[in-house]
Each structure stands twice: as C-alpha cells, then as structure tokens.
C-alpha cells in the first residue's frame, strides 16, 4: 500500500506545484500587458451613420497569450433605450506581440429619433456601458466594465422661426420670409435642407418653401426660408410644418404656430 500512497503524494505535489506556478506567473505577467485606449474619433459611415472609432493598442509583454479579447460598447439614453451597440473581438493576442485594433460603434440618428425627437432640439446625456473582457493565459476569464455619461449636443438646439415678413409677389401670391435660427451643438457639421409648409387657421396649405442650411459644429445658424403663399389663403394665425432633411437624419413635421 505504501507505493500507491507514495505515487499519489508525488502526483499531488507535482500538480500543486504546476498549478501554483502557473497561476502566480499568469497573475504576475498581467503587469507586463499594456492597454492603450487612444483618443476616440467621430466620423461618418457611407450610409450616413455616426461612427465612433476607438483605437486600442495592446502590448502583450507577459508570459502567456491573451485569449478572447473583447470590447463591447453599449450606448443608451437616460431611460435605458439602447441606441447603439458595438463589439470588437480579437481571438488571440500572442505573447511578445503588439496588437492594434479599432473598436467601432455607430449611431443612427434616425433610430434615435424614433424614441424621442428631443435629441434634435435639446442637449442631453447618453449613457455608455463599456466592457472589456479577456482570458488571461487563455484560461482565466477577466472582465472589466464601467459606466459613464457622454454629452449629447442637439444639432438643432433652440430651433426657432422668427417673425414673418410679407412682400408682394404678384396679383395672386405673396412672398413670406420666415427667419430660421438654431445652434448646432452636435459633434458634426450639419448640412441639409429645411422645407416649410404654411397652413392657415382653417388648416389649409397656403404655401411652401425651402432653404439649404450649413451649420458647422458649435455655431449659431441664422437664415431664412422664402415661401410663395396664396394671398387669399392668408389668415392672421395658423401653423408651419417644418421638415428637415440632412445626411444624418430626416425629420418632420415639426409643428410651429404663428400669429
């Protein structure tokens, strides 16, 4: 019986030594792994979605490979509605090697507007949930996650239509000039078209017009739209229906009363 006991002793000792050395060296080699998250970049995708790019540099100087490296970003609004989700997966980061990856997340403003039109006109905050997971030495799963807020700047902040000016055009029509102003608080320059429909108090369409806009980010836009309106249809009050068409989003009607 002594020989089997001795064999068990040897095997147990060997595996304990192996397990402890492996675990300690895997833990120790973490300090030689460097993660660098560089400055995030904002760009446009070919299908006009806003693209957030986060370049990640991983320098694995540790003793073991890193497996299943995954970065996941979930962007949601204050109420928890998920606006965007992006994931980057690197199967193996070999030891002694440097890996550079770009983590992307896209925001489709049209989807955003389905939830609330406030994103166009009011500054708010978006919640970002960032998760980084990996397998140290390809066997020890580790996950780091954090939540933070990201300011959302409204592209049409404080959008207002000013006082209407009427000028005679011909016997049947007048030209109505509608001043337009807003501030582009978004992190992108905005170009596009604003179309305005004018309705009288009887809710009859009396005229329409459009204008192009160009508003660089963080700039105040002041412009006007000229509408050709039937003289007979003009009433003291009524409402405008405003339609926005930009590469980033299409929105309308925004109803604004006048008079």
């Amino acid at each position: 019986m002594r020989i089997p006991i001795r064999m068990i002793s040897i095997a147990t000792t060997f595996f304990w030594v192996f397990l402890i050395v492996f675990f300690v060296s895997a833990a120790y080699s973490v300090k030689d792994v460097q993660f660098e998250f560089e400055e995030p970049q904002v760009d446009l995708t070919p299908d006009n979605k806003i693209l957030f790019s986060l370049p990640i540099k991983i320098d694995n100087k540790g003793y073991y490979n890193i497996g299943s490296f995954n970065v996941t970003t979930i962007i949601s609004d204050i109420e928890g509605f998920i606006i965007s989700q992006g994931s980057t997966f690197i199967p193996v980061i070999a030891r002694g090697k440097q890996t550079i990856a770009t983590h992307n997340a896209t925001i489709d403003i049209n989807n955003l507007l389905q939830n609330s039109k406030d994103y166009l006109f009011n500054d708010t905050e978006l919640k970002v949930h960032e998760t980084v997971s990996m397998e140290l030495a390809e066997v020890i799963p580790v996950q780091v996650s954090t939540n933070f807020s990201m300011p959302w700047g409204a592209p049409l902040y404080n959008f207002t239509l000013g006082g209407i000016e009427y000028t005679a055009f011909n016997g049947t029509h007048m030209t109505v000039t509608v001043p337009i102003s807003f501030e582009n608080h978004a992190f992108f320059d905005m170009t596009g078209r604003i179309q305005i429909h004018m309705y009288n108090s009887a809710n009859i369409l009396v005229g329409e017009g459009q204008t192009t806009i160009e508003a660089p980010q963080n700039a105040l836009y002041n412009g006007h739209a000229k509408l050709s309106v039937l003289i007979g249809g003009i009433t003291e009050n009524g409402h405008f229906e405003v339609y926005f068409s930009t590469p980033f989003f299409n929105f309308g009607p925004l109803v604004i009363s006048y008079g």
């Binding site: 019986m1 002594r2 068990i8 595996f15 397990l19 780091v144």
Partner: protein
C-alpha cells in the same frame, strides 16, 4: 532507573527531531510563500484583502503542518494531514467566493473567474484527503500486524 532515563532520552531525541523537521518544513513553506508574494504583489495592489486572505491561509496551513509533524508516528498525524487537505478545500471555496471574484473601484467593476482554478485545486485537495485516509488505514493495518506478531 537507567533504562527509564535512556527511554526519556530517546523520546526527547525523537521529539527534537520531529520539532526540527516541523520547523524546517514551516520555514520552507513560509519561504515559498514569501517568494510567491513578491510575484503576487500586482494583485495585492488591486485587491487589498488578497494579502490578508493569503496570510491567514499560510498561518493556518503552517500550524496544521507543524502539529501534523509533531504527531508523526501516531494516528493523529494522519488526522491532521486530512484536516489540512479539508482546510485547503474549504478555505479556497470560501475565500474565492465560489470562484467568481468581483470588486468595484470607483466606477470600474472587475470580475475574475477562477472557477477552473478552484475546481483543479479542489480535486487536488480531495486527492490529498484521500491520500491521508489511505495513510491512516495503512498505519492502522501495519500497527495491527505488529500487535499480531
């Protein structure tokens, strides 16, 4: 009288050698812990309670090891060895919280999944426990043979 004195001397010698062996084992184990703790320092910096957890484990383990050595040649030696193996299993389960370690620093949440490590360690602990039981059986059977003769 002289025989009694010789017997006492023999017992003292035996106890001294056991104590010496226990001391050497204890010091050696502490030395290994000391070297490993240098390598585990990065974890201790992140997880403040890690160092304390390991220290308590080392103290109890060395205590059981010393007691086990001092009682060698008796059935209690095997009891303490079995207790040591069970202590390793239970301590790992409780200190590793079932294998999922999580901690939050400011707004950052860290989760380390050590279930695989825990399972392997538990299996090795069980193997150690089984070895102690076999040693105890072997000890008793050998003792019985001696009595028979």
């Amino acid at each position: 009288m002289a025989e009694e004195k010789r017997d006492f001397k023999k017992r003292l010698q035996g106890f001294t050698s056991k104590a010496l062996k226990a001391t050497i084992k204890g010091v050696l184990f502490y030395g290994i812990y000391f070297v490993l703790s240098i390598f585990l320092a990065p974890i201790s910096e992140i997880v403040p309670s890690f160092q304390q957890t390991i220290e308590i484990f080392v103290i109890v383990y060395i205590f059981l090891m010393v007691i086990g050595e001092l009682t060698s040649g008796t059935i209690f030696h095997h009891f303490f060895n079995a207790a040591k193996a069970l202590f390793v299993i239970l301590y790992l389960i409780f200190s590793l919280k079932g294998g999922i370690l999580s901690m939050t620093v400011q707004n950052v949440n860290l989760i380390v999944d050590l279930r695989l490590f825990l399972v392997v360690a538990m299996l090795l602990g069980l193997l150690g426990f089984a070895k102690s039981v076999l040693q105890a059986i072997n000890f008793l059977s050998e003792k019985a043979e001696h009595v028979h003769f």
